[in-house]
């Protein structure tokens, strides 16, 4: 059974409440698509929209959106393909008990992606970036009863959010160099950024963010694992969203960070390596969905490779390919979902002859696969021709780029055959049940997406003039025009295309033998990134366990030791660092009652420290508390004194209630620790006293207390300043405090109740 097959029909037949509403879910993204389409002519003519409001104005952070041709292209892909994915998901997950939860996650994802590509502020962009990470976590782990799904989801989340942290650092650095987080200003300060000494750091951090999101080497391992998601999610994740987020970031920041050698080399090499590794891996797959997943990696590698360049034709190739890829990849994933649903398997070796009964699906698969393979007259062909033209135009290493592109494309041709030919042709597999054509809801979306690939292929000007060309202009700010044509004449790209087809078809025909040849076992190789990831997580857990043992072992004495030791260390450091010691110490003139209070305090402390019985220690602590309360009283703080007395009293009452239930102190243990505790306590006491003396020696100047003294009566009509502060000037703080008190009481009751229940059992 496939990963998505289990438990999807548990609720079949029973009408769910709110079903009618669920079936409306494709409408909002459809409306949005329409809205964006209406804006297209304006934006294509060079207009940009920017709007937003202050969010954290003190930090110059705005919640801002910015729409130009590039963000419009991505937004259209997200909302448009989102619409079709929603229609498809309605049919695919029909009767699923958690259908509404699914759509909630999907919408979160759509919103996150839209916000990301429309963000007009670096911080806004980051926030949406993280939302897509979280939404993808929820979606990949949607079958949460499956351990594989949970692991894959967590892996995707951790990899992309680790990248996200680097991204945030990079964005903040970038913002500090530009002096603003606003996108238009950032986009206009490319030269300043490239000249900055922080350029290298910014570039690396942002690239880690983009590469982890778009699954480039060495972060590529999470994307095939993300196949644990339900097929509609894979279709979306791989075509329009998430993985394209990194590509969007690279494209968006191209004018700011690009056009340097390091940018060009890093992107070209990483992209080429990713595409090549993924191509080899794709050939080895027998699971259709996994094979497609690796071709996504190929596509992402190719896109990254091309975005390294700053030649118009290369960027045009990247953008066209991005658009084509979104169309056919979504359609093909949906087709694989249909095959999986109808035949009950995605294993290529078990499939065959489906074309006899599933005519419509076969046609759709062919259309999408031909576009993917880059056959004329599909848009994919134009994309591929541009790719070769672009590859040959790459300045850094045209031969390398062209070779990588040919190999990657040949594998793409092979995988297209795997998906569109192998399951449908040949002898029907008799092990499989009788196959029927899928219901319309399952094939309508891929039909439209596949059909668009053909339509745009025949009439490329439909997408070129208002979508692709303006997006290229938005990246490069060039006046050079791009023209998408089916026929470019007899030239090197065409020859490369023919070479690609030949190679791809040859590989398809010899696929079984090729796969036999490629069956080396990666699963224990030291270079297996998935395995390395597990080892890395193991180490992280080890460190976490170590520090928990060290700092959070549940022993109160230990906690206090750590806290006191840390405070002592910090204070000692402060003294050594500043060299400020109390220079003059004037012995205070005290009268008899004050001396008595001080003696009571010191006596109580000594007695509490040396007492052998807990009751005596606690009474001594009480005496100490009373001594301190007396000192408060003598020096003009009756409020504090009363509070102190009452707290001491209640504390004694509480202790009296607890004491009979406490285990007896073990004297041996206590004696062992006593000298150490005494030393630590003495040290802390000494350091705190010294620091208070230092504080007292600096002249006291507090506008706050003067304000409270002067404002208490006229503004708050009260003469008890302490209480006026509590209930009037700082009432919100006090409110917070009583909530803390209340919460502490609830927590204590809960814990005690827990212990009570455990005691009874």
């Amino acid at each position: 059974m496939s990963a998505t097959g289990g438990g999807e029909n548990r609720n079949n037949g029973r009408a769910m409440p709110g079903r009618q509403l669920t079936s409306l879910t494709p409408i909002p993204p459809a409306l949005l698509t329409l809205l964006l389409l209406l804006q297209m002519p304006d934006i294509a003519s060079g207009q940009t929209f920017s709007f937003g409001f202050a969010w954290i104005a003190d930090l110059d952070v705005y919640f801002r959106f910015y729409i130009d041709a590039l963000s419009l292209l991505f937004a259209l892909l997200i909302s448009g393909i989102g619409t079709f994915v929603a229609i498809y998901a309605l049919a695919f997950l029909h009767g699923h008990p958690q259908l509404r939860r699914f759509f909630l996650y999907l919408y979160l994802f759509i919103l996150g992606m839209l916000g990301l590509v429309l963000a007009g502020d670096l911080i806004t962009l980051f926030v949406f970036w993280e939302i897509t990470s979280i939404a993808s976590y929820l979606l990949i782990g949607f079958n949460n009863s499956s351990a594989v799904a949970r692991r894959s989801a967590l892996q995707a989340l951790l990899v992309t959010t680790l990248g996200g942290l680097c991204l945030l650092t990079g964005l903040v650095l970038l913002g500090s160099v530009v002096g603003s987080y606003e996108m238009t200003q950032v986009l206009a300060s490319g030269e300043a950024v490239r000249a900055s000494s922080l350029y290298f750091a910014i570039l690396m951090l942002l690239l880690i963010g983009a590469f982890s999101k778009s699954a480039q080497l060495p972060f590529h391992f999470w994307l095939p694992n993300a196949m644990a998601a339900p097929t509609p999610v894979s279709a979306y994740l791989h075509s329009a969203t998430m993985v394209k987020a990194g590509i969007y970031l690279l494209a968006r920041l191209h004018p700011v960070l690009g056009q340097t050698d390091i940018w060009e080399w890093t992107l070209t090499c990483t992209g080429a390596a990713t595409a090549t590794v993924a191509a080899v891996a794709a050939l080895r797959q027998t699971d259709l969905k996994l094979a497609l997943a690796y071709t996504t990696l190929i596509a992402l590698g190719t896109l990254t490779m091309f975005l390294g360049s700053d030649a118009t034709i290369v960027i045009a190739a990247a953008i066209t390919f991005l658009f084509v890829h979104s169309l056919y990849k979504a359609a093909l994933f949906m087709v694989v979902g249909v095959i999986d649903k109808q035949a009950g398997t995605r294993d290529i070796n078990k499939l065959g002859g489906l074309g006899l009964s599933m005519h419509i699906t076969f046609v759709i698969a062919l259309a999408a696969a031909l576009s993917m393979a880059g056959f004329p007259p599909f848009l994919g062909f134009i994309g591929k021709e541009l790719k070769y033209e672009g590859a040959l135009a790459v300045a850094s290493e045209p031969a390398l780029v062209a070779t990588a592109a040919v190999f990657a494309n040949a594998v793409t041709v092979t995988v297209a055959g795997m998906v569109a030919l192998k399951p449908f042709l040949g002898k029907p597999n008799h092990v499989l049940p009788k196959i029927q054509e899928a219901p319309a809801g399952l094939w309508i979306s891929p039909l439209i997406l596949g059909g668009l690939g053909l339509t745009f292929g025949l009439a490329p000007e439909l997408v070129n003039d208002e979508l692709i060309a303006p997006a290229v202009t938005a990246i490069l700010d060039t006046s050079e025009t791009i023209d998408l044509k089916l026929w470019h004449g007899l030239n090197i790209p065409l020859l490369l295309s023919i070479l690609t087809f030949g190679l791809g078809i040859a590989m398809y025909l010899g696929l079984t033998r090729l796969r036999d040849w490629l069956t080396w076992d990666f699963s224990h190789a030291p270079t297996n990134a998935d395995l390395l990831w597990d080892k890395f997580l193991e180490k992280v857990r080890l460190v976490a366990a170590l520090q928990t043992d060290l700092l959070q072992n549940g022993v109160m004495r230990h906690y206090l030791t750590v806290v006191f030791f840390t405070i002592s260390l910090v204070l000692a450091y402060a003294f050594i660092r500043t060299g400020q010691y109390p220079l003059v110490f004037e012995w205070p003139r005290l009268n008899l009652k004050e001396w008595a209070a001080i003696l009571l305090t010191i006596g109580g402390a000594l007695m509490a420290g040396t007492a052998r019985k807990p009751l005596i220690a606690i009474c001594a602590l009480g005496a100490l508390g009373v001594g301190i309360a007396l000192i408060y009283l003598f020096f003009g703080a009756p409020d504090v004194a009363i509070t102190q007395l009452l707290v001491e009293t209640l504390f004694l009452v509480l202790v009296a209630a607890i004491l009979p239930r406490l285990p007896v102190f073990s004297p041996g243990r206590k004696i062992l620790f006593r000298p150490r505790d005494a030393a630590l306590g003495g040290l802390l006491g000494l350091l705190v006293t010294l620091s208070i003396l230092v504080v007292l020696q600096t002249p006291f100047d507090s506008p706050t207390s003067t304000f409270f003294k002067e404002a208490a009566v006229p503004q708050a009509h009260g003469r008890n300043i302490v209480n006026v502060i509590l209930v009037d000037f700082r009432a919100l703080d006090t409110f917070g405090e009583i909530i803390v008190v209340f919460t502490a009481a609830i927590a204590a009751v809960t814990l005690l109740g827990h212990r009570l229940r455990r005691g009874k059992q």
Partner: protein, 139 residues
């Protein structure tokens, strides 16, 4: 503790402490006192009662579960803060309403500050008693 002296004294002391706590609550704005201290005093009164007569008697005497009392206190404090926002000022700012008399001749004022203090009083009172009662229940 079955001490006759303690039990007899407690009867008087508890009443006195409770009255004293209300007194402390009301005088808090001008003299030492206030909701927090008053809440502690009231809680001590019931702690004393519990020591002399047992927890169950104390709980019966209180009539209301102390947790409810604390929650009510938090709610009252919150409402008084919001009241300020509704009438005119910022949330949790002091608002004064004159009940009788004229502006310059004095009279009786009522303020949301006092209501807030009553909330604090109930919250502290209820929370501390919740703790004490809970500890006693652990056998």
């Amino acid at each position: 503790m079955n001490s006759l002296v303690l039990q007899s004294a407690t009867r008087v002391l508890v009443a006195l402490l409770l009255v004293f706590s209300v007194y402390m609550l009301l005088r808090g704005h001008n003299y030492p006192g206030g909701g927090f201290i008053a809440g502690l005093i009231a809680a001590s009164a019931f702690a004393l009662f519990a020591m002399a007569w047992g927890m169950e008697a104390a709980q019966r005497a209180l009539r209301i579960p102390p947790g409810n009392l604390a929650a009510t206190g938090v709610l009252i404090a919150a409402l008084s803060g919001l009241l300020a926002a509704l009438s005119k000022g910022a949330p949790f700012s002091g608002q004064w309403f004159q009940l009788t008399g004229h502006q310059n001749t004095g009279g009786i004022y009522i303020s949301n500050v006092l209501i807030f203090d009553i909330g604090v009083y109930l919250a502290v009172f209820g929370s501390v008693l919740t703790l004490i009662f809970a500890l006693e229940e652990v056998k």
